[in-house]
Structures are given as structure tokens and as C-alpha cells.
Symmetry: C2
Subunit: 165 residues, 2 copies
Amino acid sequence: MSNAARFPAPKNKSESEEGTVFAPRFDAEGLVPVVVTSARTGEVLMLAYMNDEALARTIETGEAHYWSRSRGRLWRKGEESGNSQRVVEMRTDCDQDALWLMVEMGGAEASCHTGRRSCFYRTVPIGEGATGSLALHFVESETLFAPDSVYRHAHAAKGTLKSSE
Amino acid sequence: MSNAARFPAPKNKSESEEGTVFAPRFDAEGLVPVVVTSARTGEVLMLAYMNDEALARTIETGEAHYWSRSRGRLWRKGEESGNSQRVVEMRTDCDQDALWLMVEMGGAEASCHTGRRSCFYRTVPIGEGATGSLALHFVESETLFAPDSVYRHAHAAKGTLKSSE
């Protein structure tokens, strides 16, 4: 099924930006980036991607579905790990080529496949002297589940997993 | 200057995920997506992109620089509109192919080129009955500046502007 079949095709700039018709713009690979934040704490949990099917299923079920670029398949968040994401609110941006999901997490409340709550667990230094090799600083080191005991399939073993399934 | 010259090349999965060396992964177009949130309110303001030069300048100056995909050039946020973004904190995600900036906004505190605070000013309906054409709902309609009076260059006229310059 093509994008056009699931969602209306984007019209002009004015319609996309100031209109009320949801007409998402998928990129050349048929994907749209999705910012995922915690509805409870507001923190950014992950940046994921949806194709039109993942987006349609998310809207229909209220459960976050994504497209895994590394594994080339659709997945429901938490289908294996139990770390599901219930969508409290979805927003689209001005030109409708990005989405923002506010979610409530299930399971261990870990969105990252490394077992952490957020994928964004390290800071990058800013300011003077920030040249050459930059040292990241861990701000979240606690893991809420043990990836090795949760992911027993081939993709985890091959290291192609990103967000917690 | 190549990516490798500005930043170390990514090594293996373990180094990327659990290491302390900042080795960002740029996509096939040399870009990395950047989630931008307000350091004050936590809300998601925009999703933007950086090439290696924009990233290096942001780190060096503490002022957000992005790569405009529509205009094909680097820009410092607010260079024209005054709506600059001072970086309070930058984070990278598990596999270092996405960034999160927490920023303090200058000027009218509008990050969107439409004059709004956030680019994410419309919600998408979730749940049963969400089939066919979906109606967006405006949650932020107030404009903090008048785009027509701020952007007087050709790009604005051509409608290729996205975030507020």
C-alpha cells in the first residue's frame, strides 16, 4: 500500500503549515523521524522512525509502532522486551515531516535497548576547548533491565538492535 | 573537510554505545538529526539537522548552528530573526546517530518560522475511528513574531524556510 493510500498527499506549503489535514511527508526511504518523550517527565527517550504502516498502526492502536532501519521491519515497541509505549499525545511539525510522541512506558520503563530509560544517556561537552577528541559524560548509567537476558534472538546477537523491542 | 577530520570515525557497537569518545554517525547525506527542546519548559521546539561543520560550530560557540536541507547551507539559528538558541546541554544517543539539544531561546523565543514557539503546534488524533482523513488540532496558535516582517529575503519568499533563522 502506498503512502498516498494511507494518508492524503501533502498539498502546498500553506496547507501543510496552517491547515488541519494530516498529510505527513515521508522521506525518500518512506520514513518520518519521530521524537519520543516521556509524558511523565518530559525527557527525550529516543529518536525513531516510522513508515506509513507503522504510523497507521500507532494511530489506530495508540501503541507505538516503528520501522527498524537496521532490521528492515516494522515492530511494536515492547513486543519482546515488554517496554511498550502508550501514546498519550502525538503532534506533527510545521511542514509535517517530523512527529512528536508523548508516551507512557510499560514494563521496566526502559526505552533504550541498552537497558536505560533514555537513549540519550551521555552529554557532549560544549564551549571553549572543545576541539579534537571530545569526552562524553554519562548522566544516566543505571540499566533497568539486562539486555542479554531479554533479547535472545539473532538480531540482538548481531548487534543490529537499537531501541528496546 | 571530511567528517573524519572533524570528529573521530565511529568504531564498533560497544565503543559507540558504552564508550566515552564522541564519534557521531552522519547519514548518507552527511547529516545527523537534532531534537531541540526548551531548557526552561522541556517542550520539543523543533527537529533540525546538522552536518559536521554545523555540529563543530555549535560545540565551539555554544550557539546552535544547523544545516538547512531546503536551502543547502549552514545557518546560525537566529542570524536573521534574532531567535537564537544558546545550548545549555547537548546529548548523543546510544549509537550516536542522533543529538538532543536543550536550549535557551533569544529574541521573541520563537523557534518556528511560522512565528510560533514550537514547530509542533498541532496534535494528531489517536485511537479508534482514526481512519481516512485525520483532522489536526491546533494547540498553539499564538505567533510571537510576524514572519512577513522578519524574513525579507528570497528564501522566505520562495517558501523554502522552515525553522526561524
